[in-house]
């Protein structure tokens, strides 16, 4: 059989590996469909033929929960992530910044822009804004923030040098050699960055349970870790 997993786009590399491992182990297929969490959630609301949903933020999962579309008790926080401040070729080469309420972000930008994902819409952006706000830095940089439609685009802005600094997931930053991480935002400066996973009520079956178990199991956990994610419960 085949298990369709709706997963946030940023999980592609890791999920592809997990799916391959799953097939190797069970002979069954795990078919991931990657898109923005908001799209996937709405599709699930419209009866998408998916069995498992991995969201990039809890909000959409909450919504499905309210609509009673999740299989009972299946929801779990699958992954953790962190956001980091990165610098690219557009910033001074020896720039070093520690994130605290005194940080002179605006000065470090040199009239340039701070690349983030959409601060009101995309999880990475929401987390970033929350962190900056709690550190009291948001108002200073608000009008220097360039919001990309996803975190990869924000990363690309920094990597290409168009924006000197950016705020992205640690996982993305780690995989791109042309940017360097200046600092990680303190975990308490923003809500926990979790990727909840759940079985969908309509897709609940023994096989789905198996697949879900694999997803939350040790093999998958190792893969996720290798891709830089934190794993809940660690």
């Amino acid at each position: 059989g085949t298990t369709t997993v709706f997963a946030a786009a940023s999980l592609k590399n890791a999920m592809d590996e997990v799916a391959a491992a799953y097939q190797g182990e069970t002979g069954n297929q795990m078919l991931p469909s990657f898109a923005g969490s908001s799209k996937l959630a709405r599709q699930i609301q419209q009866g998408a033929p998916a069995q498992i949903f991995v969201s990039a933020n809890p909000g959409w999962m909450d919504l499905l929960d309210q609509d009673s579309l999740l299989a009972k008790d299946s929801r779990t926080d699958l992954l953790l992530n962190a956001i980091v401040l990165i610098a690219g070729p557009g910033a001074e080469a020896d720039l070093a910044i520690k994130i605290d309420p005194q940080t002179d972000l605006v000065g470090a930008l040199h009239q340039g822009h701070l690349a983030m994902a959409l601060v009101d819409a995309v999880p990475a952006g929401i987390y970033g804004k929350a962190a900056l706000t709690s550190l009291g830095l948001w108002d200073g940089v608000a009008d220097r923030v360039a919001q990309a439609d996803n975190v990869r685009a924000a990363l690309r802005l920094v990597a290409s040098g168009e924006a000197p600094l950016g705020i992205v997931y640690a996982t993305d930053a780690a995989a791109d050699a042309s940017v360097r991480v200046l600092d990680t935002f303190p975990a308490d400066s923003h809500p926990a960055i979790v990727y909840p996973a759940a079985i969908l009520k309509e897709g609940d079956s023994a096989e789905t349970r198996t697949a879900f178990g694999f997803l939350t199991g040790d093999t998958a956990r190792a893969i996720f870790l290798r891709h830089g994610f934190g794993v809940a419960g660690d």
Binding site: N13, F34, A35, Q43, R152
Partner: protein, 232 residues
């Protein structure tokens, strides 16, 4: 070559071709009809029809995708009815991708064809009528051959659009490899992850090659059709 693209990527290429082909093939007659109606008839609600056709161009594709999802989804009013009555399912099938592509390409197709129709000298159609030809025959034997370059242009423009369509498609039918993952969705997915850029570039190259081939063929066809009209 087989090493160059993975099987999933080949699947995406094949699916995109299939989707675009059916999207344009099936919507072309409607496109011609609509263009003809807009160019030659006057009827109440003509402006509204014209507006509705252009909507997919105006709205962000995501919005079109959502509207499709709400309407043609399994739980949507039209989608549910179609499934019950005809067993025709769009949601999360390649057929849905074709529907999305067709709707996104429709305004481009209609505009091209309509312009061509408006350029046909109605006096030639009159001449055909005086020879006893009923309107439908006049259309098939005079109007249609004369607008052929426009129809070809419209179809290819539509095909190109369908090949590149992404926003509405991924919103409507998701991004399930082998089922609804078209070339642009695959490109999108690669762009979302670290290290996916080269894979994305490969797919971009494929779509450029396919579209350029279609374009070249269309130019040749259109030129041939135009030369026929010019005589010699």
């Amino acid at each position: 070559m087989n090493d160059w693209l993975g099987p999933e990527e080949w699947q995406a290429v094949a699916l995109s071709l299939k989707v675009s082909f059916w999207a344009i093939g099936l919507s072309l007659p409607f496109g011609i009809l609509t263009a003809y109606a807009l160019a030659r008839w006057s009827f109440p609600g003509k402006q509204v029809l014209n507006g509705v056709i252009h909507l997919p161009l105006i709205l962000p594709p995501v919005v079109t995708g959502y509207l499709l999802l709400l309407t043609f989804g399994r739980r949507g009013p039209v989608g549910g009815w179609l499934e019950q009555v005809f067993g025709l399912v769009f949601a999360f099938r390649w057929t849905g991708a074709a529907l999305a592509a067709a709707i996104m390409a429709f305004p481009l197709m209609v505009r091209s064809i309509r312009l061509a129709i408006e350029a046909v000298d109605p006096r030639l159609e009159q001449a055909a009528a005086t020879l006893g030809a009923p309107q439908i025959w006049v259309f098939a034997t005079v109007t249609l051959p004369l607008i052929l370059p426009g129809v070809i242009a419209g179809a290819i423009l539509g095909f190109a659009k369908a090949m590149g369509e992404f926003g509405a498609t991924i919103t409507f039918v998701s991004n399930i490899p082998g089922q609804t993952q078209t070339l642009p969705s695959a490109i999108y997915t690669f762009l979302q992850v670290p290290g996916g850029d080269t894979a994305a570039l490969r797919l971009v190259a494929v779509s450029v090659v396919v579209a350029m081939a279609a374009l070249t063929v269309s130019e040749i066809l259109a030129r041939r059709a135009a030369r026929r009209v010019a005589g010699a």
